[in-house]
């Protein structure tokens, strides 16, 4: 069953076509890795997919979309802004309540950010900020994840741990990755983008790192 399907999707920037037209269908339970050279159109595709997606979709843009002046707690809490009443959320904005605080703390512990709950997001390092955005996606617990290079600032083992956490929480996902090894390890379908078009669309099991080289 398709959870997201787009037909003849295209995008232009300054009069020049940067993406498509392309069509794409995503079945429930599919974990897609989006690969390709930088500038190939992966971010544009993810952003357009997010426009088409239903509510309950978590979106993690490359620039993360964190609010630097707010604490890590608030940034993660934002993942569930659609689930609570306005009053409850405003209370949490002013004085974080115990229950959400505990839940957020649990997620941060798993990502190695246990001591950062109260720190403003703007004062963290690049890798820490990336994990805060991951924590927000994990806290959101939606049905579909669209993530753009979610682990680009993390080193090997940590990147794997974070990818494992994301793919475990979201059985259906489209994740743009520039690391070919990670892409093969954490997906069951790989879509290669070249000059704004789909150049490759295969099950991961049939591919090796060498097959993906021509895309770069």
């Amino acid at each position: 069953m398709a959870i997201l399907a787009v037909n003849d999707l295209s995008a232009s920037y300054g009069g020049e076509r940067v993406l498509g037209p392309l069509s794409l269908s995503l079945a429930s339970g599919e974990r897609v890795a989006l690969v390709g050279r930088s500038g190939a159109g992966k971010s544009t595709l993810l952003s357009l997919l997010y426009d088409e997606a239903e509510s309950g979709t978590a979106y993690m843009p490359q620039d993360l979309g964190l609010v630097d002046t707010l604490s890590v707690f608030h940034n993660v809490y934002m993942g569930q802004l659609d689930r609570h009443t306005t009053l409850y959320s405003l209370c949490n904005l002013l004085f974080p309540l115990k229950k959400p605080r505990g839940e957020v703390q649990g997620i941060l512990d798993r990502l190695g950010l246990g001591d950062k709950l109260r720190e403003p997001a703007g004062e963290l390092s690049g890798g820490q900020r990336q994990r805060v955005a991951v924590a927000r996606a994990l806290y959101q617990q939606g049905s579909l994840l669209l993530a753009d290079e979610p682990v680009s600032a993390l080193d090997g083992p940590l990147a794997r741990r974070v990818m494992a956490a994301l793919t475990e929480a979201y059985p259906t996902s489209v994740i743009a990755l520039h690391d070919v090894e990670l892409a093969l390890a954490f997906s069951d379908r790989i879509i290669g983008i070249q000059d704004g078009h789909i150049a490759l669309d295969e099950p991961s099991a049939r591919l090796t790192a060498a097959d993906l080289q021509p895309l770069y």
């Binding site: 993690m60 843009p61 979309g65 609010v67 002046t69 707010l70 405003l90 955005a133």
Partner: protein, 490 residues
């Protein structure tokens, strides 16, 4: 010069100002103006700080009115930003901010009498209009990405409070602190129309010729504003806010009957009140227009245009005083002191002082407006000139000023000047209360004759004039392609 838009605009405005001169009364009428000025300067260097009790009350009141009024205005203005996409709300805000604090105070004094509520509302209402506008502009500039990353079904209000407002928060805070300085000036001059703030004591000391007391009041005021950065700490703000209402003083009790009468009878145009209906209204309005509004508008425009050009000239002359491109730390420090004095003295207070010294004419008003506004713009342009990188071996002295700096800072300078055009006009109207025949003169006259209906019509006309000039200034700025963030409006 005629080829460039900025040059053309500059020449046009100078031409208009020169054309205003023959129609304006710019005489010095006092017999010994320089002797008075000497006595005032002597008072400034021999300040009498012995009346500590009175000084203390004057300042706590001034601070309390400013804090309460600005805080109330900030809260209302902030809440209004959530509705600012509505055209009606935008027009409402434009309207309430086009009426000067002093006019609001004159209205509220008739309602509530000499009561803290009059002063606090007089500051809070126009400030709310300004806050709503500037806050919205600041919040609109926030990064839209966090709002997009929030879950799709998030309510608009939550998106607003969780992403856009926190993003803009540091800028909102800076701007609010800046407006507090404006609020302090507004609070101080409310004393001139009877509220118990600084202006009240200043006027009393002046009229009795106690120049040393005048000196003390002015000096403490300058120190207060110049040291704001030291005492206005983010952590102390809640303390100030909680304490402020307790230092407003008691005032006279509010007579609610007066309030009702003012709203339901006093401000209703006389022909309507006396049952003459719309037919009586027309001659009544024509009479006000012909005998009061038109002469008032004419003089307001004359004074505004002359003051605008004088402000520009002064600002261009003053900015090298603080620019780091000209040598001498000592000269620069004294330049800073001069500009702080010029910009922290409210133009109303300056005009009052100069009127006492030179007698009633447009001259003291032009000089007061030019000193205050020229001080502000000179300060901003001076700081901007520091960011101009000069090549090695750039000319020095006057050549550096005329060839390297002025051409580069001229566009932002014009932006600041046009931005202050409406503010200068608001002030010009107010200076009428001191006896110069601008619109404020006729408003004050109508109030003294207890014809509040007339006063209201004249205040409305003043507001419309301000809105018109604001719109014109926006057009000119767009035509000149000028963009500069506003700083202080009052």
């Amino acid at each position: 010069m005629l080829r460039s838009r900025t040059g053309l605009t500059t020449l046009a405005f100078i031409g208009v100002a020169l054309a205003c001169l023959p129609f304006s009364d710019l005489a010095i009428t006092t017999l010994n103006p320089w002797q008075e000025l000497q006595r005032l300067l002597y008072g400034l260097v021999t300040p009498d700080l012995t009346a500590t009790n009175e000084l203390f009350t004057a300042f706590t009141r001034t601070l309390a009115y400013a804090f309460t009024g600005v805080a109330l205005g900030a809260v209302i203005g902030f809440l209004l930003t959530t509705l600012f996409s509505s055209r009606l709300v935008r027009a409402f805000c434009a309207f309430i901010r086009s009426i000067h604090e002093i006019f609001w105070a004159l209205i509220f004094l008739q309602c509530f009498g000499i009561h803290p509520l009059s002063g606090v509302l007089a500051i809070a209402i126009p400030f709310a209009g300004i806050f709503a506008k500037v806050y919205s502009e600041i919040i609109d500039e926030a990064d839209p990405l966090p709002a997009r990353a929030a879950p799709k079904n998030t309510r608009r209000l939550l998106r607003y409070f969780f992403t856009q407002v926190p993003e803009a928060w540091p800028h909102l805070r800076t701007y609010t602190a800046y407006r507090l300085e404006c609020g302090l000036r507004s609070s101080a001059i409310l004393g001139f129309i009877g509220l118990p703030t600084l202006g009240f004591h200043l006027e009393a000391a002046f009229s009795q010729g106690y120049y040393s007391q005048v000196g003390a009041l002015l000096l403490v005021f300058y120190v207060l504003i110049a040291t704001m950065r030291l005492w206005l700490r983010p952590r102390l703000v809640p303390v100030y806010l909680l304490a402020a209402p307790f230092f407003l003083g008691e005032g006279l009790p509010i007579i609610w009957g007066n309030v009702t009468r003012f709203v339901t009878q006093d401000i209703v145009p006389r022909p309507l009140r006396e049952g003459e209906g719309w037919e009586g209204l027309q001659p009544w309005l024509t009479e006000i227009l012909a005998n009061q509004a038109l002469p008032g508008i004419w003089n307001t425009l004359l004074l505004t245009q002359m003051a605008l050009v004088a402000t520009g000239v002064l600002a261009l002359l003053a900015f090298p005083l603080i620019s780091t491109h000209f040598t001498g730390p000592v000269r620069r420090t004294s330049g800073h002191v001069l500009l702080v004095i010029a910009r922290s003295t409210p133009e109303y207070m300056l005009a009052y002082l100069l009127l006492q010294l030179w007698g009633p004419s447009m001259l003291p008003a032009v000089v007061a407006l030019a000193l205050h506004n020229g001080g502000i713009i000179g300060h901003l342009v001076g700081r901007m000139s520091d960011e101009v990188p000069l090549r090695k071996g750039a000319p020095i002295g006057f050549n550096r000023y005329a060839w390297e700096l002025v051409p580069r800072v001229y566009p932002p300078f014009l932006a600041f000047l046009f931005y202050r055009w409406e503010i200068i006009m608001r002030e010009t109207a107010i200076l009428g209360i001191l006896g110069i025949t601008t619109l404020g003169f006729y408003v004050e006259g109508a109030i003294q004759e207890i014809r509040f209906d007339r006063a209201m019509v004249l205040i409305l006309i003043t507001a419309l004039l301000n809105i018109g000039v604001d719109a014109l200034s926006r057009r000119i700025r767009a035509w000149l392609r000028l963009r500069t963030r506003p700083t202080c409006e009052a």
